[in-house]
């Protein structure tokens, strides 16, 4: 208390120096931030505003600049028929859209959950000291380093119903009695997408968690060893709470990524209603079906969902991005 009081007095008695110092610091910070803010405004801010604007018009690809403002019609509109029945139309009552929302959420939750668990396991292994750790660390990153299009194509061949190695392997092992059309069948399409995404992204998760694990001082593990704490309890009572800030950041990154999944699904399971996500369906409307305004409305909706989820997650998890969380 006394320290704070004297510090307060110091500020009051020397206001000039403080404010000048602060001014120059803020000034410098602004200059350093400016290029970034400008770049973000051009590549993210402006397209976002345009998308939101188009979602409130009747724009089409051939008629982008003469688009008329129609309010929230793309989201929800209704007409009352002569019979007295009211017919609703628009995004909010579109079953194809809600199917895509469901697919996206299902994909995001399952993939991020499994990637977090597997990533944690991999990170714990990589954090242990063993011979050849450097090579294993590098090797495990390979799936992540391969461009998504390439790995999606590779997996789509591996999962091919006629000639794919997966079917061949499973048949020879006797796991399946007939070949499965992994990517084409509605029952297995989502599983196929999940497998590929988890294979591809677990290394990223592992790396972020590993960075968190390495921040934990070694000596507290020794203290726990002397205390005779069971390794499982050490994990849940010591490792997990201490790695939580890094884990939360990793989960947010992955969640945002998963919510806007596009390329993998576009290549692996094109046109499958079982895997069509929000990004895929909005692109379809924007460019394939020439419903530019409607696609814009879907993009806007996706943006709002991601924004709300991120806000909620940060608030609930009390994540602070400066590294600490307590």
């Amino acid at each position: 208390m006394t320290v704070e009081a004297t510090a307060g007095q110091a500020v009051r008695t020397q206001p000039k120096i403080e404010s000048e110092l602060l001014k120059s610091r803020v000034g410098a910070a602004m200059w350093f931030l400016l290029p970034m803010l400008a770049a973000l405004a051009v590549v993210a801010g402006w397209p976002l505003l345009r998308t939101i604007y188009f979602s409130l018009t009747n724009a089409s690809l051939t008629n982008l600049y003469e688009a008329e403002f129609v309010g929230f019609k793309n989201y929800l509109s209704w007409t009352t028929l002569k019979s007295g029945r009211t017919v609703f139309s628009g995004l909010l009552v579109d079953p194809a859209w809600w199917n895509a929302v469901g697919n996206t959420l299902r994909f995001a939750v399952i993939s991020v959950t499994l990637e977090t668990v597997l990533g944690m396991v991999v990170a714990l292994v990589l954090n242990a000291e063993f011979k050849g750790r450097g090579i294993v660390r590098a090797a495990i990153l390979i799936p992540w380093a391969i461009p998504t299009i390439v790995s999606a194509k590779m997996w789509s061949w591996m999962l091919n119903d006629q000639f794919g190695i997966i079917n061949d392997l499973f048949m020879k092992l006797g796991l399946i009695s007939h070949k499965i059309a992994w990517t084409a069948s509605a029952d297995t399409a989502m599983t196929a997408v999940l497998i590929v995404d988890i294979w591809k992204t677990t290394p990223f998760m592992a790396l972020l968690i590993l960075a968190g694990l390495q921040m934990i001082p070694k000596d507290i593990y020794e203290a726990a060893e002397i205390d005779g704490v069971h390794p499982v309890k050490v994990f849940f009572k010591v490792t997990l709470p201490l790695v939580r800030p890094a884990l939360m950041v990793a989960v947010i990154f992955r969640l945002l990524d998963a919510m806007r999944i596009f390329d993998l699904i576009y290549v692996l399971t094109p046109n499958s209603a079982a895997t069509k996500t929000m990004s895929v369906i909005s692109r379809e409307n924007l460019f394939d079906f020439d419903k530019f305004a409607y696609g814009s409305a879907q993009s806007t909706f996706l943006f709002l969902m991601i924004a709300v989820m991120t806000g909620l997650y940060i608030w609930l998890g009390k994540v602070r991005f400066d590294g600490g969380d307590r």
Binding site: D219, E222, A223, A224, I226, V229, V238, P241, R326
Partner: protein, 336 residues
């Protein structure tokens, strides 16, 4: 209570031999200090006793029981780390209770023991705080408290004071000394590179050098009868003055050593004549650095009280007879 015996203990990390065969007996209830320069293996030896490192060869027994392969938690030890090693996300209370919760003690017993230890170390007001809200000295006391609540047979301290500032180091040193009196049935093993800590705390000191025991004895034994040049130079502050060559051969030795407190300033015709290089006055004592033209470092002479000497002034000094340590070529004391 634990009587610890080390028999020909060796430890290698890969091709590097760190401990090269240590034989040592630590008596039950004793305060043993391992001291030596950095890299001498003192911390490794302590970690071998804790069970945090595997012994490469040799036997270690606690009360006659072989503990070579025993897990740290089964040895009845508690350790205080140089870096405190507190769990950063737990309060002081939780930090101290964590090890007990696992020992399946009842809630009341845990509370009682933690509070008793907190009182002993005067950290009761901080029990609900997190380690980061404490000063270095308070953190170190919490670390000691965490060791106390386990009621160990053996306390292991790994340079516990080296992260504290000078004033706090003296105060905490006193706390540890008091702790040893209060818990005189516990064996304590303490690692430090600071010979003052070793001299003030130890019942016995074990001087280590290059993975081997150089000498074991009470602080005064080491001070009065160093069994090697190394121990003579390591124990005592300021460092013992060493002289070689002609001056030493007059005493029938290869090297002679004289402590600064065993040299007197003679009026005119002392054994060694030279000039003042520098003088320091600490209030209670004064140190004069004298160059007698023998090469090497200037000789340090300690005088009680405040004395000032002008630089370059001529001075004549003489060792107190019978207080000159003589060493042969191998650095061992000359016997006769």
């Amino acid at each position: 209570m634990a009587h610890i015996e080390l028999k020909n203990i060796k430890k290698s990390f890969g091709l590097v031999d760190v401990i090269k065969g240590v034989d040592l007996e630590i008596f039950s209830g004793e305060f043993m200090v391992f001291v030596g320069p950095s890299g001498c293996g003192k911390s490794t030896l302590l970690r071998l006793m804790a069970g945090l490192e595997d012994i490469t060869s040799g036997e270690m027994t606690f009360d006659g029981t072989l503990v070579n392969a025993l897990a740290p938690s089964k040895r009845g030890i508690a350790m205080v780390f140089q870096s405190y090693a507190l769990y950063p996300h737990m309060t002081v209370y939780e930090n101290m209770a964590f090890g007990l919760e696992l020992a399946k003690s009842s809630k009341e017993t845990i509370k009682e023991r933690v509070e008793k230890a907190a009182e002993l170390l005067q950290i009761t007001p901080y029990l609900s705080r997190l380690p980061k809200q404490l000063s270095g000295g308070q953190r170190q006391r919490v670390a000691i408290g965490r060791a106390i609540v386990r009621d160990p047979k053996v306390f292991l301290f790994d340079e516990p004071l080296s992260n504290l500032d000078a004033a706090l180091r003296v105060a905490t040193r006193l706390e540890i000394a008091k702790l040893h009196h209060a818990m005189n049935s516990s064996t304590m093993v303490y690692v430090t590179h600071d010979q003052v800590e070793a001299m003030t705390l130890a019942d016995r000191i074990c001087v280590l050098r290059d993975g081997l025991v150089e000498q074991v004895g009470t602080p005064l034994e080491l001070y009065e009868n160093p069994q090697s040049l190394f121990v003579a130079g390591f124990i005592g502050s300021p460092k013992m003055n060493f002289l070689n060559g002609e001056i030493a051969s007059k005493f029938g030795a290869n090297t002679i050593g004289v402590r600064s407190e065993h040299i007197e300033i003679a009026d005119r015709d002392g054994a060694w004549k030279g000039k003042v290089v520098h003088s320091e006055s600490l209030g209670s004592d004064s140190y004069v650095y004298v160059d007698i033209g023998a090469g090497g470092d200037p000789i340090i002479v300690r005088q009680e009280g405040t004395h000032m000497h002008q630089p370059d002034a001529a001075i004549s000094i003489a060792p107190i007879p019978g207080k000159v340590y003589r060493f042969d070529k191998a650095g061992k004391p000359v016997k006769n």
